[in-house]
Symmetry: C2
């Protein structure tokens, strides 16, 4: 049966068969996705990761995370996806600090006006 080679097989100039484990994750029309993943992890390591997982959903999630890490490494050659982690960590710290400030202000108003009640529509 004729079959369009996936981006992984196309790059490696080999025949893509129905047994190709990388084909579901690297469609022929997205060569960059494969190149980034191949560049960072290599085909053998990706196949090893897939081999070690039994569940199809887990394989799919693992490949999504592998592709994400590869794309991030291309975008941020020094930090890779640690760049996202640092950004989110920083945003969380800023938001927690803001929450603490607003809670202090709210506490102040509550102490000043102990009889005032805030309407709670949810409960």
């Amino acid at each position: 049966m004729s079959r369009v080679s996936c981006a992984a097989c196309k790059y490696q100039r080999r025949k893509c068969t129905s047994e190709c484990v990388l084909a579901p994750y690297f469609p022929a029309n997205q060569p960059k996705k494969f190149q980034n993943a191949h560049r960072l992890f290599g085909v053998r390591n990706m196949v090893k990761i897939l081999d070690e997982l039994k569940d199809e959903d887990q394989k799919s999630d693992a490949m999504k995370s592998i592709i994400f890490e590869s794309d991030m490494r291309e975008k941020f050659p020094v930090y890779g996806c640690v760049e996202c982690i640092s950004y989110l960590h920083q945003q969380l710290q800023i938001t927690l600090q803001e929450l603490q400030d607003v809670q202090s202000q709210l506490e102040f108003y509550r102490q000043q006006h102990p009889t005032a009640t805030y309407p709670n529509f949810d409960r």
Copy 2:
């Protein structure tokens, strides 16, 4: 000059020379650190990443992120460091929601008691 082989050279059973680019990041007494990185990225890919960066600080930061990603992949075989990203993202969403709730409450108190002022010691 005699030299203790780094974990990378020890694992590959080769002589560790002063030119070994991986030695600064994989001390002999931390073999697991190298095994995780080797398992996920392979020596060749790590050397390639180092070769592409000129600045020593950047090389060091890149290796820290590589080692972090490897350790996370060992801990979370399906999601790797995307596990951290998801967790931080979730925490940020929860905190932003909480901030919004507290800000609504504060706004309510302010409207109820427009003359009350919150002491601002910082400004």
